[in-house]
Amino acid sequence: MDIKFESIEGNSIPYMVMMSAFALMAVVGLITTFFIIEKGLWVTGMTNRVPWGLQIVMAVYYIGLSAGSLVISGLYGVFGKQEYKPFARIAVYLAMLFLIAGLLSILTDQGRMDRVFVEPFVYFNLRSMFSINPILYIGHILICVIYLWALFTEKRKLTTIVATTAFGWAFCVHSGTGAIFGFGARVLYESPLLPASFVAAAMASGTALMILMIVGLFKVTNRHVDDGLIIWLGRFLAVCLLVVVYFLMVENLYRAYVVELRSAAMYYLFGGIHSILFWFGLLLVGCFIPMFLLFRRKTGKQIRWIVLASALVVFGVLCERYVIVIPGLTHAPEIIAGMEIVQSPIDEGVANYSISILEILQALGVLGVIGFLFGFGLKYLKLLPDEARIYERAVPAVANIRKDESGVAVGK
């Protein structure tokens, strides 16, 4: 049952087009970043009331997407499901790239990017979540590198150890990312549930992205993957979504129930564009439709529906990140108890934020960098297995499906 891993040829026209597109995006992002350094951050549309914008949203989103490796390494390394071994390399490589993307997003968001490489490590502040998190991210990147090395050299024992470590570390990474907001002083941030719900949302988005990547890559490169594997991941995704919805429900019900938080909850749920994103983007498109598709017996076993559900989840979790970061800032804190500020030289009250072109270009630039690295890795590293099959001795229960429906023959 040895799996042969291969790299792709990488000489086809679509590959070249993809790589040049990613390179172009990276260059545009770099130019935008230099423009922002030169002019100051006001050109990005962030204001004193909303000092965090799309870059932080994207950073936490990317960190969440890296959880695909958490799932795969958990299945393969911790729970010993050998049939997920073919995806281990690609999952870990993607996780590393998305962590790099998260760090790049945070980096390009700083006011003084020149100081980011020295000061945070020299003047480490143990009480700050923003100080702990980069350490967690960099640690995870290093663990990913060791993990990849262990996978490439087929060191079985080391792989198991590193997979377990990465599994635990990834939990810390996603909880820590949630803690940036959850331990904050803003009314709509402050919540001990946020780290846990971040882990759930990260696992949902990571699994969804893994499904998209596996199905897409295997289809494009004419490789075989057993439907049972994808279907099982789809089930897992549905369970993750259930947990996400549960956490969202508890959090918002708590806010709506406690008298002092009720106005904030009303603002969050019915207060503007972010509410539309919450109800339609996150709950309807991101959670309920995918859950319906995945739990339904008929659609939950067809690859195209699972892929559609995954795509919706990837979009929905982006909305989730947005409705965590932005409304917490635009919501007006009550500075003087019982009083309303009617006139002020700065924007009191509800603040406005709109995503600007420059922020989008920057985010695309980060995506370009990791996309380029991904293409590079596909070409020069042996990431893809020749095929991914369910072995006879370790058949999961969900793999017992009617094989004639899926269109692709299962097993040899």
Partner: protein, 246 residues
Amino acid sequence: MERRDFIKIAGGTFLAGSACAYAFRFLTASNIDGLIVENLTTGRKYGMVIDLTKCIPGCTACVEACHNENNVIHSGDKRWDIHWLRKVTIENKLSPEVGKKEVLLLCNHCDKPPCAQVCPVQATYKRHDGIVIVDHHRCIGCRYCVIACPYNARMFNFKSEEEWHNKDHPKRSHGVAEACTLCAHRLDKDQPPACVEACRNVGTGAIVVGDLNDPRSEISKLVESRAVKRLKEDLGTDPKVHYIGL
């Protein structure tokens, strides 16, 4: 060269380089003779009392003095303008008929500052005399402190301004956070802060800054004898700006 050797050498060099970079700080941080960095414990705890009953409506002498002294420049855009000290008009939410009132809002110099707690580089910190201050030489501009401040008293330098009112005092480049420093540079020289001086010059004397630990100081007597209020005391940040007649 074998790949294994290459990785070993490259990894070793990387680790050694990082270690050197980290050690560099301690090697070069030798104290210059006679100038030993020490934590001075003067036992002072600066605080502020704002007597809103004396404050003249519409008067912004303190705000202007503050911004002239500290080179805080306004370009007129509400979104990015920095206000160390701002005068706002408030109205009771439940009973608007009581009327409007003007209040000064500024950094509260909390005894347990959330902004200092979240700063990833310890650029924001509380001085030994209780003043919460930003080290602009160290700030990386992550804006976490702006978010953590419950009083909206922190601002971020989104733009850098060319204007320079008070050339004896530095201005700030774009990309760092800032807030009221209680005119620490003046207090260190036993001068009153700019806002206090301006308020005195107007003839009001509504703002008092002094040592809260000294029972004989004017501010301690005010805090003792008058009904003072602080903002958001329930948060437990223990702010040191007191209001009379809020």
